[in-house]
């Protein structure tokens, strides 16, 4: 079988020293060391983790495919003839060429442009050009068996219309991996059939972990992002909380909002004289309680690289993809649902100004990781502190905490063997 080639274990162990056995002091070198970066590819992204692949609706019919990456590894996701979603490494078994060059499409099979080897929708090798030579000269040796060669396969799982993949046989099933709380949080947001509204990618000049930590950081929100306080929005926040799964890497945080009180506040604000401190057009924040539970913000992460967000009526999947030790790509996949009417779509689009590369409450996240990365360049001795709210990674009923970041490091240290 030609299943080898992507090893699960790296022979090189980390030389980065953690200050303690804990998770509240994090060595800076983890963000700058190229060898650490390679180990992360093997042990996290190609290890026992579930990674976001695509929306199920993007591969609605047999033959529909999406080409993506898991970490840095190129992957094809395709709906098979039997209706199952298959995923395999986008690398021909012959000479390792990229098999699929389009971002998406529909096909009955995959054919390598280099030497014409073909694969069916399960990744099984079905055709070898000139397998028996030309005029009986050349050709593959007699012991060669096409059935013994296939594309390296990922297991897939679907939850709430999102498709995930894992390289490892050791990964528990998806819902066990997420834990009961995070599974519930995911299904709360993805409770209808999603509809793709648009996508874009932010290229960030920092290590991927700095962004993923930022998403789990409920401490920075009102400090770094000044939009809401500047325009006196969301002063009526009600308490929220943080759920963290047992292994630590998956979480969701949430906060509720008194929608009716906020609406009354807007009406009152229209009468105020200090117009420079209120929005000229409130539609960027005018939201409806579409889940009927007053939760206006829910940020959910799936270790190592996926985020699912509900910020008011904006729904988005964000995927963090490492692109070198000091570069990462963040794809924003903006969603609506099949039940949306035109007014709901327009509401989501206007609130879309809050998020993404130009988002009023997210653009700072695109640059702050780069500032950290710059400070650490050639200056990466020591360790950062992640002690807000204690030293553990337990679920909490308040949000001024770094517990979810500690959860990330708990899962990280476990899988990295550090």
């Amino acid at each position: 079988m030609s299943l080898s080639g992507i090893s699960a274990e790296s022979p090189v162990e980390s030389t980065i020293a953690w200050p303690s056995n804990g998770i509240s002091e994090v060595p800076f070198r983890l963000y700058t060391d190229p060898a650490q970066y390679q180990r992360e590819q093997e042990r996290l992204f190609r290890g026992p983790t579930w990674n976001y692949l695509c929306l199920a609706v993007e591969v609605a019919n047999p033959g529909d495919y999406v080409a993506t990456t898991v970490g840095e590894t190129a992957v094809i996701v395709v709906r098979g003839a039997d209706g199952a979603i298959n995923a395999f490494v986008n690398r021909c078994a012959h000479r390792g060429n990229l098999l699929c060059l389009e971002r998406n499409g529909s096909s009955k099979e995959f054919s390598c442009i280099y030497h014409g080897w073909t694969y069916d929708l399960t990744g099984q090798l079905t055709g070898v050009a000139f397998e028996h030579g030309v005029k009986r000269q050349g050709g593959m040796p007699p012991e060669f068996r096409k059935e013994e060669h296939r594309l390296l396969r990922l297991r897939t799982a679907e939850l709430g219309g999102l498709v995930f993949g894992t390289f490892s046989d050791a990964t528990p099933d998806l819902e066990t991996y997420l834990g009961a709380d995070v599974t519930r949080g995911l299904l709360r947001v993805m409770n209808r059939t999603p509809r793709l509204l648009g996508r874009s990618t932010q290229v960030m000049p920092n290590n991927w972990k700095l962004y993923f930590e930022n998403v789990k950081d409920t401490y920075h929100a009102s400090i770094l992002h000044l939009f809401l306080t500047t325009f006196r929005i969301n002063r009526l926040s009600m308490p929220g909380g943080i759920y963290i799964n047992h292994e630590g890497g998956n979480h969701y945080s949430y906060a509720k909002l008194d929608y009716a009180a906020e609406d009354a506040d807007y009406q009152a604000a229209r009468l105020r004289a200090d117009s420079e401190f209120r929005l000229q057009d409130n539609s960027v924040v005018e939201s409806v309680d579409e889940y009927g539970d007053q939760i206006s913000v829910q940020i959910l992460t799936v270790f190592p690289g996926m985020v699912l967000q509900q910020v008011r009526n904006t729904i988005a999947v964000r995927v963090v993809r490492p692109r070198g030790v000091d570069k990462a790509e963040l794809e924003w996949i903006h969603l609506g649902f099949d039940t949306d009417d035109d007014a709901m779509t327009e509401r989501r689009l206007r609130q879309g100004n809050l998020i993404g590369a130009a988002g009023y409450i997210s653009m700072e996240d695109g640059c702050v990781g780069g500032f950290v990365q710059r400070a650490l360049h050639y200056n990466d001795d020591g360790a950062g502190l992640v002690m807000m709210g204690g030293h553990e990674a337990e679920s909490q009923t308040f949000r001024a905490s770094e517990a979810a970041i500690r959860g990330f490091w708990k899962h990280y240290r476990s899988l990295m063997g550090e």
Binding site: L196, L197, G198, L226, G352, A358, Y360, M363
Partner: protein, 159 residues
């Protein structure tokens, strides 16, 4: 008004040039005034645009939303100071109907950071619908179709 009318061409060229100057010379407060109210301003990618997907990266449906974008940049959002230099290419008037001209132009925008680091930040097309019935002309719609769907770091200043 005929498509060949010199006054029409002049007014459209002035509006498009003034737009780039407002942004590049940091006269952002004047930028919303170049739009009608209501209006439609959308920065999106070629991929989204061609797939008929409605959500881009920046969107405004009124002059108020444009003003809020400027206020937020000035007072709320945090980013490294930078400017753009737009170079706007051939401007073509596609049609004029009922006082609205459909106009297409091309642009490249360099980004110059406060420390002097310069890079090619964006290229794309402007797809405009311009009110030409009264003077001065105003954008009723400007769709900024970026050739790439990747944005380096962030998009703070409008393109």
């Amino acid at each position: 008004m005929s498509m060949d009318d010199p006054a029409l061409r002049h007014g459209i060229h002035e509006l498009i040039a003034e737009y780039a100057e407002c942004i590049d010379e940091d006269r952002l407060e004047a930028w919303p005034e170049l739009f009608a109210d209501p209006c439609r301003y959308l920065v999106t990618s070629r991929a989204n645009h061609e797939a008929g997907l409605p959500q881009g990266i920046m969107y405004a449906a009124s002059r108020g939303m444009l003003l809020d974008r400027v206020f937020s940049l000035r007072r709320a959002n945090i980013f490294e100071p930078h400017r753009y230099r737009h170079v706007v290419g051939p401007i073509r008037i596609k049609s004029v109907e009922d006082g609205v001209a459909a106009v297409q132009s091309h642009f490249i925008a360099a980004r110059i950071m406060h420390d002097g680091v310069m890079s090619l930040f964006a290229t794309g097309r402007y797809l405009d619908r311009i009110d030409v019935a009264a003077s001065p002309f105003r954008f009723r719609e400007r769709i900024v179709v970026l050739d790439s769907d990747k944005i380096d770091t962030l998009l703070a200043i409008p393109l």
